[in-house]
Amino acid sequence: MSVATAAAQLELRGVTKRFGGVAAVDGVSLAVGKGEIVGIIGPNGAGKTTLLNCISGVFRPDAGDIRWEGTSIAGMQPYRVARLGIGRTFQIVRPFGSMTVRENAAIGALFGSNEARKGPREAFAIADEVLELVGLKAKAAHPVAALTIPDRKRLEVARAVATRPHLLLLDEVMAGLNNVEIDEALEMVRAVHATGVTVLLIEHVMRVIVGVCDRAIVLESGQVLAEGEPEVVLRDERVIQAYLGERYAKRLRASGAEDRTN
């Protein structure tokens, strides 16, 4: 079930984060290998974003350890985690409102991971490359306020990619997009992954999980419920129950044969 720890680029051991008496993340252990695309799914409140916040240093875990390329990063400041090569996006986009699209991306390149740190001129060159990769090149000079929602999500990804991460944490970048936009976004994730970046993404859209992920991890109530190949995990009885409820699970079982022919 779990990836051999020797090959793991990112490894979580018993990570726990409590808010008051509630454990939002409760003893999560998982491993992500170099070059993988891993999807995290789970119902609302399962602790997906909290887990991402623990990895990226926004939250300090109350217990457990997070190891990144062999060193512990649990409780490290976000900027130091970023400099070690972990980039992330926010579920609710957080663009730098007074800047242009290009400047937003350049911030990632100006700071970002240690080896990629550049002066303003080179940073803007990197920003241009990244904007091309995510398909925002034509809007580079636009103010952020002029962007549509899908474009804002692209910008969020562009900024994180500009930090030259080894691992990219994507928090629901497809949420709120229509089918065409999801296809475009999937292309974007594949393009980023093709540059040699490991991807750990949170997503509710099952098409995304099945479409790009090598592996899926299901969280429920802060714990790992299931883990494995996306198609297998999504057919798991417990997963369907946790996600869609008992009634829907029964209905799905009844129409299971039909489904597969579609």
Partner: protein, 360 residues
Amino acid sequence: MIATAASSRRWRRIFLIVGAIVLAYALLAPLTSLDAAQSAGVPLLADRLWFRLATIVAMFIVMATAWNIIGGITGYAAFGNVAFFGIGAYTTGMLIAKAKWPFLLALPFAPIMSAAFAALVGLPLLRLRGHYFAVASLGVGVAVGELVQNIDYQGQPVFGGASGLFLPIYSINNRGLYFFYLMTAAAAVSIAVTWWVLRSRFGYGLIAIRENEEAASVLGVNTTAYKVAAFALAAALTGLAGGIFSQWNVFINQDNTFPIEYNVQMILMALLGGTGTVFGPAAGAVLLQLLIQFLGGTLPISFDLPFVSEAARPIVAQIILGLLLVGVVIFVPRGVIDFFGGRSRLSLAYLRRSLRETSL
């Protein structure tokens, strides 16, 4: 539309020309000797008050421009920057008056002390955001002034106490002129520093912090270090102005080096001129300081307010000032410097957009 693009260009040109003339006048006027000006009967040049006023304007350019670094560029509304002015003034003042150092040797310690103090209080203070930071910084500003006046050692006030600190008069020809140029140089340095900040990696980091601190930190910006550095840089420039002020004014006390109204004035100047810009705060400082002096009746060109007794004049002046600033914040939220930008600003559409933005 009130103005077409062509007429707004004309207006901008007029603004620029008038600005250039005022600047040239301020810089070149003192070059002619006072006596020559007096015998020629040139009104402003002949008045020693003019030098004093021009030096005060330059001093406020430094303070507003410095505030802009922490308040405008980094987005932390510091309400206690006057503490750095006072610390700078007292550092240089003490070194000259008590340690008998020469002025130019004592002056560099003003920005150093102010920056060191800013870094020290900045570490805990800059963890606070929004109103909490504003209130806490105001508290520090007031507390430092009180401490300086009230610290005693073996029954003797350490910093001159309530009676203040007298410095030996700096013996140099044309003292007024000398300090005018010194303060103008400090103003030029603050503007140059701002110009550099806005083009540097440091500046981009500060703007990122202002726009979204959490996003900045996950992109690799060391937010704590950057905020403290911006605060210390603002403090250093403000302290420099304080250091020059102490020798220029010869006498310093709590009232003239820690005035709480300076806190408000430097912020209003930056807002009036345009926060986050290179020249905005300087433009705001010139406009607002001249207005304050004009309303206060201390300008050589004066006026009488109708229906207002001489005693009520300062109060009425404050009211006019307040109303004017409310108008500016509503109608020109990006500051008067915005008039010099690319697009038409003197139009109804601009005012409508401004109103929409401020009401958000």
